[in-house]
Symmetry: C2
Subunit: 213 residues, 2 copies
DNA sequence: GCGAACTTGACACTTGGTGACACTAGGGGC
DNA sequence: GCCCCTAGTGTCACCAAGTGTCAAGTTCGC
Protein backbone atom coordinates (compact mmCIF):
# COMPACT_ATOMS: atom_id res chain seq x y z
CA UNK A 1 0.00 0.00 0.00
CA UNK A 2 2.53 2.58 1.16
CA UNK A 3 6.25 2.40 0.58
CA UNK A 4 7.82 -1.02 0.34
CA UNK A 5 10.81 -1.01 2.68
CA UNK A 6 11.42 -4.66 1.98
CA UNK A 7 11.98 -5.54 5.60
CA UNK A 8 9.13 -7.21 7.35
CA UNK A 9 7.88 -5.44 10.40
CA UNK A 10 7.29 -1.70 10.15
CA UNK A 11 5.34 -1.66 13.44
CA UNK A 12 7.77 -3.41 15.68
CA UNK A 13 10.48 -0.86 15.02
CA UNK A 14 11.27 1.96 17.38
CA UNK A 15 8.65 4.70 17.99
CA UNK A 16 10.79 6.92 15.79
CA UNK A 17 9.79 5.19 12.61
CA UNK A 18 9.04 7.46 9.70
CA UNK A 19 7.64 10.86 10.42
CA UNK A 20 4.84 9.99 8.04
CA UNK A 21 4.02 6.94 10.09
CA UNK A 22 3.96 8.81 13.36
CA UNK A 23 1.69 11.37 11.77
CA UNK A 24 -0.59 8.67 10.55
CA UNK A 25 -0.85 7.21 14.01
CA UNK A 26 -1.46 10.63 15.46
CA UNK A 27 -4.35 11.35 13.13
CA UNK A 28 -5.74 7.89 13.62
CA UNK A 29 -5.61 8.30 17.37
CA UNK A 30 -7.25 11.68 17.24
CA UNK A 31 -10.03 10.22 15.10
CA UNK A 32 -10.68 7.28 17.40
CA UNK A 33 -10.65 9.43 20.49
CA UNK A 34 -13.19 11.95 19.25
CA UNK A 35 -15.31 9.20 17.75
CA UNK A 36 -15.34 7.26 20.99
CA UNK A 37 -16.27 10.32 22.96
CA UNK A 38 -19.18 11.11 20.67
CA UNK A 39 -20.38 7.52 20.63
CA UNK A 40 -20.42 7.26 24.39
CA UNK A 41 -22.23 10.57 24.69
CA UNK A 42 -24.89 10.09 22.03
CA UNK A 43 -24.88 6.44 21.06
CA UNK A 44 -23.26 4.84 18.05
CA UNK A 45 -26.16 5.16 15.66
CA UNK A 46 -26.89 8.77 16.50
CA UNK A 47 -23.47 9.95 15.38
CA UNK A 48 -22.66 10.39 11.70
CA UNK A 49 -19.26 10.02 10.17
CA UNK A 50 -19.48 13.61 9.02
CA UNK A 51 -19.86 14.73 12.61
CA UNK A 52 -16.87 12.73 13.75
CA UNK A 53 -14.73 14.08 10.97
CA UNK A 54 -15.83 17.63 11.59
CA UNK A 55 -15.21 17.32 15.32
CA UNK A 56 -11.72 16.03 14.57
CA UNK A 57 -11.19 18.82 12.09
CA UNK A 58 -11.05 16.86 8.88
CA UNK A 59 -13.23 15.65 6.06
CA UNK A 60 -15.36 12.53 5.84
CA UNK A 61 -13.19 11.29 3.02
CA UNK A 62 -10.14 11.33 5.24
CA UNK A 63 -11.96 9.36 7.90
CA UNK A 64 -12.50 6.55 5.43
CA UNK A 65 -8.85 6.63 4.48
CA UNK A 66 -8.05 5.60 8.03
CA UNK A 67 -10.93 3.27 8.78
CA UNK A 68 -12.74 0.92 6.48
CA UNK A 69 -16.06 1.53 8.16
CA UNK A 70 -17.71 3.49 10.91
CA UNK A 71 -17.64 0.40 13.08
CA UNK A 72 -13.93 -0.04 12.61
CA UNK A 73 -13.04 3.00 14.69
CA UNK A 74 -14.32 1.17 17.70
CA UNK A 75 -13.59 -2.40 16.82
CA UNK A 76 -10.03 -1.87 15.65
CA UNK A 77 -8.97 -1.18 19.19
CA UNK A 78 -9.96 -4.65 20.31
CA UNK A 79 -9.20 -6.25 17.00
CA UNK A 80 -5.49 -5.73 17.37
CA UNK A 81 -5.61 -8.00 20.37
CA UNK A 82 -6.46 -10.89 18.10
CA UNK A 83 -3.10 -10.85 16.40
CA UNK A 84 -1.41 -10.78 19.77
CA UNK A 85 -3.42 -13.75 20.84
CA UNK A 86 -2.15 -15.96 18.08
CA UNK A 87 1.38 -14.75 18.60
CA UNK A 88 1.14 -15.54 22.28
CA UNK A 89 -0.12 -19.01 21.53
CA UNK A 90 2.69 -19.61 19.07
CA UNK A 91 5.20 -18.50 21.68
CA UNK A 92 4.08 -20.97 24.33
CA UNK A 93 6.39 -23.94 24.81
CA UNK A 94 5.19 -26.89 22.76
CA UNK A 95 5.23 -29.32 25.66
CA UNK A 96 2.61 -27.26 27.44
CA UNK A 97 -0.91 -28.67 27.41
CA UNK A 98 -3.41 -27.20 24.98
CA UNK A 99 -5.52 -25.88 27.82
CA UNK A 100 -2.66 -24.07 29.52
CA UNK A 101 -1.33 -22.60 26.31
CA UNK A 102 -4.72 -21.32 25.28
CA UNK A 103 -5.33 -19.94 28.71
CA UNK A 104 -2.16 -17.90 28.52
CA UNK A 105 -3.08 -16.67 25.07
CA UNK A 106 -6.51 -15.52 26.19
CA UNK A 107 -5.14 -14.07 29.36
CA UNK A 108 -2.65 -11.93 27.48
CA UNK A 109 -5.60 -10.33 25.72
CA UNK A 110 -7.62 -9.94 28.85
CA UNK A 111 -4.70 -8.41 30.68
CA UNK A 112 -4.11 -6.01 27.84
CA UNK A 113 -7.70 -4.89 28.27
CA UNK A 114 -7.45 -4.61 32.01
CA UNK A 115 -4.27 -2.63 31.49
CA UNK A 116 -6.06 0.41 30.10
CA UNK A 117 -9.24 -0.43 31.91
CA UNK A 118 -10.69 3.07 31.58
CA UNK A 119 -10.60 3.06 27.81
CA UNK A 120 -11.17 -0.64 27.32
CA UNK A 121 -14.25 -0.68 29.47
CA UNK A 122 -15.85 2.10 27.48
CA UNK A 123 -15.09 0.30 24.25
CA UNK A 124 -16.27 -3.08 25.43
CA UNK A 125 -19.53 -1.75 26.75
CA UNK A 126 -20.11 0.16 23.57
CA UNK A 127 -19.52 -2.93 21.48
CA UNK A 128 -21.60 -5.31 23.54
CA UNK A 129 -24.41 -2.79 23.74
CA UNK A 130 -24.59 -1.95 20.03
CA UNK A 131 -25.75 -4.75 17.74
CA UNK A 132 -23.98 -3.55 14.62
CA UNK A 133 -20.74 -3.12 16.52
CA UNK A 134 -21.10 -6.47 18.15
CA UNK A 135 -21.61 -8.02 14.75
CA UNK A 136 -18.41 -6.56 13.38
CA UNK A 137 -16.55 -7.57 16.47
CA UNK A 138 -17.74 -11.15 16.16
CA UNK A 139 -16.70 -11.11 12.54
CA UNK A 140 -13.16 -10.28 13.59
CA UNK A 141 -13.31 -12.93 16.23
CA UNK A 142 -14.22 -15.46 13.59
CA UNK A 143 -10.94 -14.66 11.86
CA UNK A 144 -9.06 -15.07 15.09
CA UNK A 145 -10.69 -18.39 15.53
CA UNK A 146 -9.45 -19.60 12.18
CA UNK A 147 -5.99 -18.32 13.07
CA UNK A 148 -5.98 -19.98 16.44
CA UNK A 149 -7.22 -23.21 14.94
CA UNK A 150 -4.43 -23.16 12.38
CA UNK A 151 -1.87 -22.50 15.10
CA UNK A 152 -3.26 -25.35 17.18
CA UNK A 153 -3.15 -27.71 14.25
CA UNK A 154 0.54 -26.93 13.90
CA UNK A 155 1.09 -27.32 17.62
CA UNK A 156 -0.58 -30.68 17.74
CA UNK A 157 1.06 -31.76 14.51
CA UNK A 158 -2.29 -32.66 13.02
CA UNK A 159 -2.41 -33.67 9.37
CA UNK A 160 -5.38 -31.52 8.39
CA UNK A 161 -5.64 -27.90 9.46
CA UNK A 162 -9.41 -28.07 9.12
CA UNK A 163 -9.96 -30.89 11.55
CA UNK A 164 -12.74 -30.84 14.09
CA UNK A 165 -10.68 -30.67 17.24
CA UNK A 166 -8.50 -27.60 16.76
CA UNK A 167 -11.45 -25.58 15.55
CA UNK A 168 -13.44 -26.67 18.53
CA UNK A 169 -10.65 -25.80 20.92
CA UNK A 170 -10.15 -22.38 19.35
CA UNK A 171 -13.87 -21.78 19.58
CA UNK A 172 -13.94 -22.69 23.23
CA UNK A 173 -11.10 -20.33 24.02
CA UNK A 174 -12.81 -17.45 22.27
CA UNK A 175 -16.06 -18.26 23.99
CA UNK A 176 -14.26 -17.89 27.26
CA UNK A 177 -12.87 -14.58 26.07
CA UNK A 178 -16.27 -13.27 25.09
CA UNK A 179 -17.97 -14.39 28.28
CA UNK A 180 -15.25 -12.86 30.39
CA UNK A 181 -15.65 -9.57 28.56
CA UNK A 182 -19.39 -9.75 29.13
CA UNK A 183 -19.12 -10.35 32.83
CA UNK A 184 -16.38 -7.78 33.19
CA UNK A 185 -18.43 -5.06 31.54
CA UNK A 186 -21.61 -6.11 33.34
CA UNK A 187 -19.84 -5.79 36.66
CA UNK A 188 -18.50 -2.33 35.81
CA UNK A 189 -14.97 -3.65 35.91
CA UNK A 190 -15.31 -4.63 39.54
CA UNK A 191 -14.56 -8.27 38.90
CA UNK A 192 -10.97 -9.14 38.28
CA UNK A 193 -10.81 -10.28 34.66
CA UNK A 194 -7.81 -12.48 35.27
CA UNK A 195 -9.65 -14.35 37.98
CA UNK A 196 -12.67 -14.70 35.73
CA UNK A 197 -10.51 -16.11 32.99
CA UNK A 198 -8.98 -18.61 35.35
CA UNK A 199 -12.37 -19.76 36.60
CA UNK A 200 -13.71 -20.11 33.10
CA UNK A 201 -10.72 -22.09 31.95
CA UNK A 202 -10.97 -24.35 34.93
CA UNK A 203 -14.42 -25.34 33.73
CA UNK A 204 -13.45 -25.70 30.09
CA UNK A 205 -10.07 -27.36 30.53
CA UNK A 206 -11.30 -30.97 30.43
CA UNK A 207 -12.72 -30.43 26.98
CA UNK A 208 -9.53 -28.81 25.76
CA UNK A 209 -7.44 -31.64 27.04
CA UNK A 210 -9.72 -34.03 25.24
CA UNK A 211 -8.66 -32.17 22.13
CA UNK A 212 -5.04 -32.80 22.86
CA UNK A 213 -5.60 -36.49 22.98
CA UNK B 1 -40.84 1.40 13.62
CA UNK B 2 -44.31 1.56 12.15
CA UNK B 3 -45.08 -1.86 10.75
CA UNK B 4 -43.53 -4.91 12.32
CA UNK B 5 -42.10 -6.66 9.33
CA UNK B 6 -40.12 -9.49 10.75
CA UNK B 7 -41.46 -10.85 13.96
CA UNK B 8 -44.92 -12.11 13.29
CA UNK B 9 -45.66 -15.53 14.57
CA UNK B 10 -46.40 -17.51 11.45
CA UNK B 11 -45.16 -20.92 12.45
CA UNK B 12 -46.95 -21.70 15.65
CA UNK B 13 -50.44 -21.34 14.21
CA UNK B 14 -52.23 -23.68 11.87
CA UNK B 15 -50.95 -23.88 8.27
CA UNK B 16 -54.31 -22.49 7.13
CA UNK B 17 -54.13 -19.30 9.18
CA UNK B 18 -55.43 -16.07 7.78
CA UNK B 19 -55.46 -15.55 4.07
CA UNK B 20 -53.40 -12.44 4.69
CA UNK B 21 -50.80 -14.43 6.50
CA UNK B 22 -50.53 -17.04 3.82
CA UNK B 23 -50.13 -14.30 1.28
CA UNK B 24 -47.40 -12.76 3.37
CA UNK B 25 -45.54 -16.01 3.50
CA UNK B 26 -45.94 -16.46 -0.21
CA UNK B 27 -44.43 -13.08 -1.02
CA UNK B 28 -41.70 -13.53 1.54
CA UNK B 29 -40.82 -16.90 0.10
CA UNK B 30 -40.75 -15.55 -3.42
CA UNK B 31 -38.44 -12.77 -2.30
CA UNK B 32 -36.01 -15.07 -0.52
CA UNK B 33 -35.95 -17.50 -3.38
CA UNK B 34 -35.10 -14.98 -6.06
CA UNK B 35 -32.63 -13.24 -3.75
CA UNK B 36 -30.85 -16.47 -2.98
CA UNK B 37 -30.63 -17.37 -6.62
CA UNK B 38 -29.13 -14.02 -7.54
CA UNK B 39 -26.69 -14.12 -4.63
CA UNK B 40 -25.42 -17.54 -5.54
CA UNK B 41 -25.04 -16.54 -9.16
CA UNK B 42 -23.36 -13.16 -8.75
CA UNK B 43 -22.24 -12.91 -5.15
CA UNK B 44 -23.95 -11.11 -2.30
CA UNK B 45 -22.30 -7.74 -2.76
CA UNK B 46 -22.81 -7.59 -6.50
CA UNK B 47 -26.59 -7.76 -6.21
CA UNK B 48 -28.60 -4.67 -5.26
CA UNK B 49 -31.88 -4.68 -3.44
CA UNK B 50 -33.46 -2.96 -6.40
CA UNK B 51 -32.46 -5.87 -8.60
CA UNK B 52 -33.90 -8.41 -6.22
CA UNK B 53 -37.15 -6.52 -5.95
CA UNK B 54 -37.39 -6.05 -9.68
CA UNK B 55 -36.65 -9.72 -10.33
CA UNK B 56 -39.39 -10.65 -7.89
CA UNK B 57 -41.74 -8.15 -9.52
CA UNK B 58 -42.07 -5.64 -6.75
CA UNK B 59 -40.57 -2.42 -5.44
CA UNK B 60 -37.59 -1.90 -3.18
CA UNK B 61 -39.87 -0.45 -0.55
CA UNK B 62 -41.81 -3.66 -0.38
CA UNK B 63 -38.65 -5.67 0.08
CA UNK B 64 -37.87 -3.68 3.19
CA UNK B 65 -41.35 -4.29 4.51
CA UNK B 66 -40.53 -7.96 4.62
CA UNK B 67 -36.87 -7.88 5.62
CA UNK B 68 -35.11 -5.48 7.91
CA UNK B 69 -31.94 -5.58 5.85
CA UNK B 70 -30.43 -7.08 2.74
CA UNK B 71 -28.60 -9.57 4.91
CA UNK B 72 -31.79 -10.70 6.57
CA UNK B 73 -33.11 -12.41 3.45
CA UNK B 74 -30.36 -14.93 3.81
CA UNK B 75 -29.86 -15.01 7.53
CA UNK B 76 -33.52 -15.29 8.46
CA UNK B 77 -33.63 -18.78 7.12
CA UNK B 78 -31.07 -19.97 9.63
CA UNK B 79 -32.13 -17.52 12.29
CA UNK B 80 -35.47 -19.20 12.80
CA UNK B 81 -33.57 -22.24 13.93
CA UNK B 82 -32.40 -20.34 16.96
CA UNK B 83 -35.84 -20.04 18.44
CA UNK B 84 -36.37 -23.74 17.92
CA UNK B 85 -33.14 -24.42 19.71
CA UNK B 86 -34.22 -22.76 22.90
CA UNK B 87 -37.64 -24.38 22.69
CA UNK B 88 -36.01 -27.76 22.25
CA UNK B 89 -33.80 -27.16 25.26
CA UNK B 90 -36.77 -26.09 27.35
CA UNK B 91 -38.61 -29.24 26.34
CA UNK B 92 -35.90 -31.63 27.48
CA UNK B 93 -36.64 -33.45 30.72
CA UNK B 94 -35.09 -31.60 33.65
CA UNK B 95 -33.31 -34.66 35.03
CA UNK B 96 -31.29 -34.93 31.85
CA UNK B 97 -27.68 -33.79 32.08
CA UNK B 98 -26.78 -30.39 30.72
CA UNK B 99 -24.60 -31.95 28.07
CA UNK B 100 -27.27 -34.30 26.79
CA UNK B 101 -29.96 -31.64 26.78
CA UNK B 102 -27.79 -29.19 24.89
CA UNK B 103 -26.75 -31.85 22.45
CA UNK B 104 -30.36 -32.56 21.62
CA UNK B 105 -31.05 -28.87 21.21
CA UNK B 106 -28.17 -28.38 18.82
CA UNK B 107 -28.97 -31.56 16.99
CA UNK B 108 -32.53 -30.44 16.34
CA UNK B 109 -31.08 -27.46 14.51
CA UNK B 110 -28.54 -29.46 12.62
CA UNK B 111 -31.10 -31.99 11.58
CA UNK B 112 -33.40 -29.24 10.39
CA UNK B 113 -30.56 -28.06 8.17
CA UNK B 114 -29.74 -31.51 6.91
CA UNK B 115 -33.44 -31.94 6.21
CA UNK B 116 -33.48 -29.47 3.33
CA UNK B 117 -29.83 -30.02 2.60
CA UNK B 118 -30.03 -28.58 -0.90
CA UNK B 119 -31.25 -25.20 0.23
CA UNK B 120 -29.46 -25.15 3.58
CA UNK B 121 -26.10 -25.91 2.02
CA UNK B 122 -26.40 -23.01 -0.39
CA UNK B 123 -27.35 -20.69 2.43
CA UNK B 124 -24.65 -21.85 4.80
CA UNK B 125 -21.93 -21.56 2.22
CA UNK B 126 -23.14 -18.12 1.24
CA UNK B 127 -23.10 -16.99 4.84
CA UNK B 128 -19.73 -18.43 5.74
CA UNK B 129 -18.21 -17.07 2.57
CA UNK B 130 -19.51 -13.52 2.85
CA UNK B 131 -18.11 -11.46 5.71
CA UNK B 132 -21.06 -9.13 6.12
CA UNK B 133 -23.47 -12.05 6.13
CA UNK B 134 -21.35 -13.94 8.57
CA UNK B 135 -21.33 -10.92 10.83
CA UNK B 136 -25.10 -10.71 10.86
CA UNK B 137 -25.39 -14.39 11.43
CA UNK B 138 -23.06 -14.22 14.41
CA UNK B 139 -25.09 -11.34 15.76
CA UNK B 140 -28.16 -13.53 15.74
CA UNK B 141 -26.21 -16.29 17.33
CA UNK B 142 -25.25 -13.95 20.15
CA UNK B 143 -28.94 -13.54 20.89
CA UNK B 144 -29.45 -17.27 20.88
CA UNK B 145 -26.61 -17.57 23.29
CA UNK B 146 -28.23 -15.23 25.73
CA UNK B 147 -31.48 -17.13 25.34
CA UNK B 148 -29.83 -20.48 25.87
CA UNK B 149 -27.96 -19.17 28.89
CA UNK B 150 -31.18 -17.90 30.42
CA UNK B 151 -32.85 -21.23 29.79
CA UNK B 152 -29.93 -23.07 31.35
CA UNK B 153 -30.00 -20.83 34.39
CA UNK B 154 -33.64 -21.79 34.89
CA UNK B 155 -32.87 -25.44 34.31
CA UNK B 156 -30.08 -25.47 36.84
CA UNK B 157 -32.07 -23.32 39.28
CA UNK B 158 -29.24 -20.85 39.50
CA UNK B 159 -29.82 -17.65 41.45
CA UNK B 160 -28.33 -15.26 38.90
CA UNK B 161 -29.18 -15.54 35.21
CA UNK B 162 -25.92 -13.83 34.34
CA UNK B 163 -23.63 -16.31 36.04
CA UNK B 164 -20.47 -17.55 34.40
CA UNK B 165 -21.41 -21.17 33.95
CA UNK B 166 -24.63 -21.05 31.95
CA UNK B 167 -23.17 -18.49 29.59
CA UNK B 168 -20.13 -20.62 29.11
CA UNK B 169 -22.19 -23.71 28.46
CA UNK B 170 -24.40 -21.91 25.97
CA UNK B 171 -21.32 -20.58 24.24
CA UNK B 172 -19.81 -24.02 23.97
CA UNK B 173 -22.97 -25.43 22.45
CA UNK B 174 -23.09 -22.71 19.82
CA UNK B 175 -19.43 -23.15 19.09
CA UNK B 176 -20.17 -26.76 18.33
CA UNK B 177 -23.01 -25.68 16.09
CA UNK B 178 -20.83 -23.25 14.17
CA UNK B 179 -17.97 -25.67 13.75
CA UNK B 180 -20.29 -28.38 12.55
CA UNK B 181 -21.76 -26.02 9.97
CA UNK B 182 -18.24 -25.13 8.84
CA UNK B 183 -17.15 -28.69 8.39
CA UNK B 184 -20.40 -29.63 6.78
CA UNK B 185 -20.15 -26.89 4.17
CA UNK B 186 -16.43 -27.48 3.65
CA UNK B 187 -17.10 -31.11 2.93
CA UNK B 188 -19.87 -30.30 0.46
CA UNK B 189 -22.40 -31.99 2.66
CA UNK B 190 -20.62 -35.29 2.38
CA UNK B 191 -20.08 -35.61 6.12
CA UNK B 192 -23.08 -36.59 8.16
CA UNK B 193 -23.87 -33.56 10.29
CA UNK B 194 -25.48 -35.62 13.01
CA UNK B 195 -22.34 -37.68 13.39
CA UNK B 196 -20.23 -34.55 13.47
CA UNK B 197 -22.41 -33.11 16.19
CA UNK B 198 -22.09 -36.25 18.22
CA UNK B 199 -18.33 -36.28 17.91
CA UNK B 200 -18.04 -32.65 18.85
CA UNK B 201 -20.25 -33.07 21.86
CA UNK B 202 -18.31 -36.05 22.99
CA UNK B 203 -15.25 -33.82 23.21
CA UNK B 204 -17.04 -30.95 24.88
CA UNK B 205 -19.24 -32.91 27.27
CA UNK B 206 -16.82 -32.95 30.21
CA UNK B 207 -16.81 -29.16 30.31
CA UNK B 208 -20.58 -29.03 30.13
CA UNK B 209 -20.96 -31.48 32.95
CA UNK B 210 -18.61 -29.35 35.01
CA UNK B 211 -21.18 -26.64 34.52
CA UNK B 212 -23.92 -28.83 35.87
CA UNK B 213 -22.07 -29.36 39.08
C1' DG C 1 15.06 24.49 -5.69
C1' DC C 2 12.75 20.60 -8.22
C1' DG C 3 10.29 16.65 -9.05
C1' DA C 4 8.22 12.37 -7.03
C1' DA C 5 5.39 10.41 -3.74
C1' DC C 6 1.96 10.90 -0.36
C1' DT C 7 -1.90 13.22 1.93
C1' DT C 8 -5.95 15.85 1.94
C1' DG C 9 -10.36 18.12 0.63
C1' DA C 10 -14.11 18.84 -2.47
C1' DC C 11 -17.44 16.93 -5.31
C1' DA C 12 -20.22 13.56 -7.45
C1' DC C 13 -22.20 9.17 -7.34
C1' DT C 14 -24.04 4.53 -5.83
C1' DT C 15 -26.52 1.92 -2.54
C1' DG C 16 -28.84 0.53 1.80
C1' DG C 17 -32.58 2.01 4.43
C1' DT C 18 -36.68 5.09 6.11
C1' DG C 19 -40.70 8.28 6.18
C1' DA C 20 -44.82 10.19 4.06
C1' DC C 21 -48.61 9.91 1.18
C1' DA C 22 -51.74 8.23 -2.10
C1' DC C 23 -53.82 4.19 -4.14
C1' DT C 24 -55.88 -0.39 -4.39
C1' DA C 25 -58.21 -4.76 -2.97
C1' DG C 26 -60.96 -7.24 0.03
C1' DG C 27 -64.10 -7.80 3.91
C1' DG C 28 -67.91 -6.79 6.58
C1' DG C 29 -72.10 -4.12 8.06
C1' DC C 30 -76.20 -1.87 6.51
C1' DG D 1 -76.53 -2.38 -3.92
C1' DC D 2 -73.09 1.15 -0.92
C1' DC D 3 -69.66 2.77 2.58
C1' DC D 4 -65.85 2.36 5.42
C1' DC D 5 -62.08 0.21 7.34
C1' DT D 6 -57.66 -2.12 7.11
C1' DA D 7 -53.52 -4.20 5.22
C1' DG D 8 -50.41 -4.15 1.46
C1' DT D 9 -48.26 -1.68 -2.12
C1' DG D 10 -45.87 1.85 -5.27
C1' DT D 11 -43.80 6.42 -5.74
C1' DC D 12 -41.10 9.94 -4.33
C1' DA D 13 -38.05 12.31 -1.37
C1' DC D 14 -34.57 11.92 1.78
C1' DC D 15 -30.56 10.57 4.89
C1' DA D 16 -26.21 8.27 5.76
C1' DA D 17 -22.43 5.01 4.53
C1' DG D 18 -18.96 4.30 1.36
C1' DT D 19 -16.14 4.99 -3.03
C1' DG D 20 -13.86 7.11 -7.23
C1' DT D 21 -11.74 11.05 -9.05
C1' DC D 22 -9.28 15.06 -9.51
C1' DA D 23 -7.02 19.14 -8.06
C1' DA D 24 -4.61 20.97 -4.77
C1' DG D 25 -1.00 21.00 -0.80
C1' DT D 26 2.93 18.78 1.84
C1' DT D 27 7.11 16.26 2.58
C1' DC D 28 11.19 13.85 1.13
C1' DG D 29 15.10 12.82 -1.71
C1' DC D 30 18.29 14.79 -4.66
Amino acid sequence: MTTRPVTTRPESTRPESTLAERKRRLVSGELTETALQLFVQQGFDAVTVDEIAAAAGMSKRTFFRYFASKEDVVVQFLADLGAGMRAELAARPPEESTATALQHAVRSCVDACAGHADKALRVVRLILGTPSLHARFLERQAQWRDDLAAELAIRLALPSPTALHPRLAAGLALTVFEVVLQLWSDGDGAEDPSALTARAFAAVAPALDAVGR
